[in-house]
Symmetry: C2
Subunit: 177 residues, 2 copies
């Protein structure tokens, strides 16, 4: 299977999303295109962008396609990318994941994960674009809430979008492999 432009999810989901500050359409007009991930993004620097967030290891095109196909089959992993259409490179990405629940009359919850904007394009509002988009997308997809974890220094950033620090604490267990 070759790398191609098939989107991870229906591109129409990203159309007509309205956010208070209108940042989504504004960014689209400046040579920056927000769209679903496709496998061709492997060649457009997607993993290099993610590498600015954390260790990404050694991912071959085959591994990338396998993971993409699994996410597509699941249908609840929404990876968006921002492409600089002039250079043809991915300069930002974020992930919205949906969890299905029995509580609250079989509700759905969203999680925002792996938000990263390349150093080269910081300060252009791409972080705002990603968070605005995934937050309204979560509501459009029926989520009763959307959550995320972040470093304390980033709290004011997320508060601008209506996120509040919870009284609950975030705990983790890392396996030794």
């Amino acid at each position: 299977m070759a790398l191609n432009d098939t989107p991870l999810f229906d591109e129409a989901l990203l159309r007509n999303l309205t956010v208070d500050n209108g940042v989504i359409s504004e960014s689209n007009m400046n040579g920056l295109l927000l769209r679903p991930l496709c496998t061709r993004d492997y060649d457009k620097g997607f993993m290099n962008t993610l590498a600015q967030l954390t260790d990404v290891g050694d991912v071959s095109p085959e591994m990338f396609i396998d993971r993409f196909e699994e996410m597509k089959r699941l249908g609840n992993h929404y990876v968006v990318v921002v492409e600089n259409t002039q250079t043809g490179s991915v300069v930002a990405t974020a992930l919205l994941i949906l969890e299905r629940k029995f509580i609250h009359a079989c509700t759905t919850r969203g999680r925002v994960e792996d938000v990263v904007v390349c150093n080269s394009v910081r300060g252009k509002g791409l972080g705002k674009l990603l968070i605005s988009t995934l937050t309204v997308l979560a509501e459009k997809l029926g989520c009763y809430k959307v959550t995320l974890e972040c470093r304390p220094a980033k709290v004011p950033f997320y508060e601008r979008f209506g996120y509040n620090v919870s009284e609950e604490l975030y705990m983790q267990y890392r396996f030794g492999h």
Copy 2:
């Protein structure tokens, strides 16, 4: 479609899980059976048990089956229950959800959610049983880490299983519907 005993996921995944304190087999011997959720649990008080955690709303058998089937189709939602085999009622439950990632060489992350033990059976080690089980299950399923959110008062409980409070903060955005 009628309520039945088809498990949400392969029961074999819960066999031979080894935990340091051996609590899993110990609990099994006292008329308490840990197993995957099935739709018949609707009639065994599953929603009443969840209601001790939070609002569960009005869920019909059809809604329950639909949500169950969606989780089963997704294949990354692992709801376990503890049944009191003498009374035939569900007395505890918890959920492990897997997230697929591109980071860390296409890794997987686990999340523990919706952990609840009925008031009537508190103090019998069922909370330990659930957390021990889902933590080792997450490792068995290939997770590099497993995380959860909890109230500050519950931190010492989870620390016993190797969970650590993260420096990251947990933030949420609740939609108004």
